[in-house]
Amino acid sequence: MTLTERRPGRARPAPDLRPPGLRAGLLLAGCACLAGAALLAVLVGPVRLDPAGVLAELAGRLPLVEVHGGLPERDAAILWQLRLPRVVLGALVGAMLALAGAAYQGVFRNPLADPYLLGAAGGAGLGATLAIAYGPDTSSWPVGLLPLAAFTGAVAGVAAAYALGRSGGGRTTTTLVLAGVAVASFLTAIQTYVQQREDDTLREVYGWILGRLSTAGWKEVVLILPYTLLSAAVIVACRRLLDVLAVGDDEAESLGVRAARVRLVVVAAATLGTAAAVAVSGLIGFVGIIVPHTVRLVAGSSYRLVVPLCLLLGAAFMILADLVARTVMAPGELPIGVVTAFLGAPFFAVVLRTTRRAP
């Protein structure tokens, strides 16, 4: 029994259901923002690079493309060894935090949820602090102890919150969020204790907590790429299910969706990506809230569009924030978390005031 079989004459393409032009246009605009931000970030710095040379240099690395010209050796080294890995890492971290923020807001139906909601920040902070305070010299290791400890701490923090939430007997999102708050507070308390005991590490720990991309290199990019790709693929694949979860667990179940299972998969993916991002960049705040909400104000609330746009604009936003962080006090650097909050909050206020959604 189907409606279309019974009334074949009435079946027709959905009216105004999802204007494909608008969707494609927004995605193209997102791609343009990301490309523009990336280009600006590789051009601007203490040594200004020639835009035409940069484009020729980049095009020359593409397969099957033959390009004459490019950059002098010194500028090419700046581009390939300093600027580009930092831009790529910033893009990965920004995309991941924005995506994880949107995913958390979807599964917890809470607009204030961010990637650190379930104890990822508390766990990563403790892991990083322990590594800084007590860790051995790992300069000869292929991967430093700090990112490993932060990654492990973030994953362990969320796992503990999930286990605590489930052991409370509740399968509701509220129980889980409360468990996350409890775990985060507990881990932060231990971190503060360690910090106070080892006060010579305070500055380094504080610098890590505020976030930075100053140590970015291709090694860090390769380190987090598999996790961010896997995490992003899962969240993008689940974007339609995030829309369904918005009607609550009961209604989602009656629509054929195992709400608890989907939530677990999405939280696991978002946690993996967040942990990877935190491992190489520290605790950069605000991106996971500001980017998804700005996207929603512009493109509507459907996760089918919000998720891919968060991927693009989160990356663009982080690249620009890092550009500001490394140029505004040159040759010194501002912590990137300060920039994301300082630029993000007024920008969000402007978007909030100027955007008028159709009723």
């Binding site: 027709r12 339609r240 369904v244 009607v247 009961d250 209604e251 009656s254 054929g256 509507g300 159709a358």
Partner: protein, 271 residues
């Protein structure tokens, strides 16, 4: 053929028994109205049929036990219109109705042209086509209820469960929604099981009524046999007058209980 069959179904919620050994059979294409006072178990019964709450006993949907079906397969057989549907902030009517196609779209896939065509057809049927791009939270109560109904119809399930479908609607919209459901039921050969508070409307829009009280079937049968002053007084603890309308239906009118001698009659309200 039997669309819904319950045999000795019991449900406990938080250790408290809510339904006791309920036995019920709904033929395919029938309209069954569930009535009963608050807390009598109407919503729990609907949730048990929809597989949303654990139960003891035997439930069969089209001859198949829900436990033998996946969640998606069950959603293709039963569509639910909840009493207080969650309105996702910012969702458009089109996107909301498209959620009804969820049981047909692969878990990690996306909707196909056929899904969009079916949604368009449902929107058309329920006069919602022009509202497809509107935000759900900007609609009137009647329009929103039609959107919720449209989402359920997009599931193309042969069984439709309605939990107080007229809650919060004025008398005109109550009639419109119930007439719409009735028309769709006849056109699409749906089996409709609806929990109702308004006894008159329940009698008008159901072939048979089942009165629940304390989780048990207190009375069942055609409206005329269930909606009597004695039965309503006993199970609702309400004073009502039941009148027969010229079309053969019944009208239930609440009346003030007779005042005791010497009790003040109250003041006249100035208008």
């Amino acid at each position: 053929m039997t669309a819904i069959e319950l045999r000795d179904v019991s449900v406990d919620l938080d250790g408290r028994p809510v339904l006791h050994d309920l036995t019920l059979s709904v033929p395919s294409g029938a309209r069954l109205g569930l009535i009963g006072p608050n807390g009598s178990g109407k919503t729990t019964l609907l949730r048990a049929v929809a597989g949303l709450v654990r139960h003891r006993g035997d439930i069969r949907i089209g001859g198949v036990a829900p436990a033998a079906l996946t969640r998606r397969e069950l959603a293709r057989r039963i569509a639910v219109v909840p009493q207080s549907p969650v309105v996702p902030p910012g969702a458009t009517v089109g996107d909301y109705v498209l959620m009804g196609r969820t049981p047909y779209i692969p878990y990690l896939g996306t909707e196909r042209r056929r899904d969009l065509e079916i949604v368009a057809s449902v929107l058309d049927q329920l006069d919602l086509a022009t509202l497809a791009g509107r935000r759900l939270d900007s609609l009137s109560g009647g329009e929103r209820q039609r959107a919720v109904l449209a989402r359920a119809l997009a599931q193309q399930a042969p069984v439709l469960l309605l939990d107080e479908p007229t809650t919060g609607l004025d008398v005109g919209h109550q009639q419109q929604v119930l007439e719409l459901v009735d028309g769709l039921r006849a056109a699409l050969d749906l089996t409709v099981l609806s929990a109702m508070h308004d006894l008159t409307l329940a009698g008008q829009f159901a072939d048979e009524l089942v009165l629940l009280d304390g989780g048990r079937v207190a009375a069942a049968g055609p409206a005329r046999s269930v909606l009597t002053e004695r039965v309503i007084s006993r199970h609702y603890h309400a004073s009502v007058r039941v009148l027969e309308d010229p079309d053969g239906g019944v009208v239930v009118i609440p009346v003030r209980p007779a005042r005791q001698a010497g009790e003040p009659a109250g003041r006249k309200v100035a208008t």
